[in-house]
Point group: C2
Chain length 367, copies 2
């Protein structure tokens, strides 16, 4: 049984690795001949906009999915003529544009930070009057890992922010003084079966995810239930199929939805060792209509991204409970080259080993 | 970093799957173009006896290993001219011949069932006089999954046993009225670092492993220590590198070594989900001189082999805690097509689900 995956990056690679034991063979489509998934599964190299490439990619696959949310919606709809495409292209539409996304969340009565569309300099002034400072000006499309964003702290920041981002459709969002960032991974099968992983606490630096702790420390059943209730509304509204990641700001006992990703997600990598069933296996089960695996955590995990450079492999593997995941990517500043999942039965054990590991990963990082 | 694996069966496939996250790429050598590992790693198709094939296989690999113990020792020694071959070819020599193997164990003062070499019909009579009935007549070489064996219960059984096996060098072993069969997986790195997995209890039917329970129920520290002490002698004597499997008969608090396999082993498949580090990852770490991962069990596991036919995938995945592993092999009677690892935190939970799973796997099996 063959599954097509748009994109051959590390997410496609980990989907392929999860597929083999289930008897599922992944075929990736990527523009790059050295896409990370290509080492271990079939790789079609070509352009998402090319009809011949798409037909070749879709030939003989049972279902098509994607590993990043900036797949052109037209591509997804075109492929839907060959076979089912999951998550549904509607989810792509909602997730690709921050204004559409936040409006969609608001329609579902899911709290979000305040936001307003900005199409002109006059819009920006008006939005700032309504939302106040601090605020974040963002491009509506194609932003990731903190790119396409400018933080406005003082009135004069609007000049540089506008100068750097004008020309694209924008959104101004109110700054949220959050306690922490959490993410929820939800998964829904073609059969309607739904499962949720425990909430994860995420730490970013320079706009890039650095660390996820799973389950989130001090997670209460009430907070988990709140996140699941919000996720359920999204799953229902989109008749969603596959893994869906939702990022929240936690403020007291309140959750504000920040964004969603209709795919397996970096904040879910811990599930490979830290949960009974990985997000990758469950995404495949969901889109193929197979029963979902148990999403319970096994002990405590911390996932650490390896950004830009790789630590010494021997030193990492010498840390008890550390699981190394390399993506076969050439080092480059800011690039996600791999991750480590550190798992232990007890939170205390974990913290001591985490300190040890962090020294290896980023010796220059402040303590 | 590339590792060569002689053999491209399910063991080679699972080594390859374990390698990618560690940045290790596996290249398998197999006589069959449709070897199970070929779906997901480089496969050289050719003959182990062909020097040109061996040179092509060995080109650019850092280390060579094997996934079955009937690799010709001459092949292993030839390959050792290109790069290190682990486990050491000496381990192959000891494991390929039951008489050599049992004599080696006896030299190390590791208890075994009584045994005698049988080269002629007269030898057989003499051996039966010494060992008594019941006994098992076995070919010294190339036996696996119960093939090349005949059980002698009554004096007249010697005729049919001799008729069916004569022509090959044989060994007569005393029948052991064992309480259960256990196996120990040991692993030793090029650095000398050693680790042991907990003992596993194995159930065979028709000479083929059906079920492994890990850790073995009612495992005492004393029994584990005894098995580890025996294994340590073998590791030391062979200056062993890699995973080594040793099968024991348990009789009271005594362990009799039955055989050993110088490779990853079917009774260690549970380690993928049921241990902190899988036998496949640890075998690669051992032969590459990387730190070994934690061999502790996580909860309780049962591994069930899928022999000859495959159960319904949907029904299997619906059992909580069941992890399916398919090998992409065409069904054939007696063929290992895959396995399932059932894992749970509590033994009681596990047993209830095991009953459910066994009904799916072999509906005709007696309860």
């Amino acid at each position: 049984m063959k599954v097509g995956v748009l994109g051959g990056g590390q997410l496609g690679r980990m989907l392929a690795l999860a597929g083999y034991p289930l008897g599922v063979h992944v075929r990736c489509l990527d523009a790059l001949t050295d896409a990370p998934a290509g080492a271990l599964c079939e790789l079609v190299v070509g352009d998402y906009a090319d009809a011949v490439t798409l037909a070749r990619f879709a030939e003989g696959v049972a279902v098509i999915t994607y590993e990043f949310e900036n797949v052109p919606v037209t591509t997804a709809r075109q492929l839907a003529e060959f076979c089912p495409v999951y998550p549904p292209p509607l989810a792509l539409e909602k997730a690709q544009d921050r204004l559409v996304e936040k409006s969609f969340l608001r329609e579902l009565a899911i709290p979000t930070p305040p936001f307003l569309a900005v199409e002109s300099r006059a819009d920006l002034d008006e939005a700032l009057t309504q939302i106040g400072l601090p605020a974040v000006l963002k491009t509506r499309r194609l932003g990731y890992d903190g790119k396409g964003q400018a933080v406005l702290r003082q009135p004069q920041d609007r000049e540089t922010a506008w100068a750097s981002l004008q020309g694209s459709p924008l959104i101004l969002e109110g700054w949220v003084n959050f306690d922490r960032e959490l993410s929820l991974l939800a998964v829904r099968s073609t059969t309607g079966e739904i499962a949720f992983y425990p909430l994860v606490a995420n730490e970013h630096r320079d706009g890039i995810l650095r660390i996820s702790r799973a389950p989130a420390p001090n997670l209460t059943p009430a907070l988990q239930a709140l996140a699941e209730a919000y996720a359920q509304r999204i799953l229902d509204a989109l008749q969603y199929v596959g893994v869906l990641a939702i990022e929240f700001f936690q403020v007291g006992q309140m959750l504000l939805a920040n964004e969603m990703a209709p795919r397996v997600h970096n904040s879910g990598h811990w599930t490979i060792e830290g949960a009974v069933t990985s997000q990758f296996a469950n995404h495949l089960c969901a889109i193929l209509g197979l029963p979902l695996g148990d999403t319970a955590a096994i002990g405590q995990s911390v996932m650490l991204n390896l950004i830009g450079t790789l630590p010494d492999r021997v030193a990492v593997l010498a840390v008890p409970g550390a699981h190394l995941h390399l993506y076969d990517k050439a080092p480059r500043p800011g690039r996600k080259l791999g991750h480590i999942t550190l798992r232990a039965d007890e939170a205390q054990t974990l913290e001591a080993r985490l300190v040890q590991l962090q020294k290896l990963i980023d010796p220059s990082a402040p303590a």
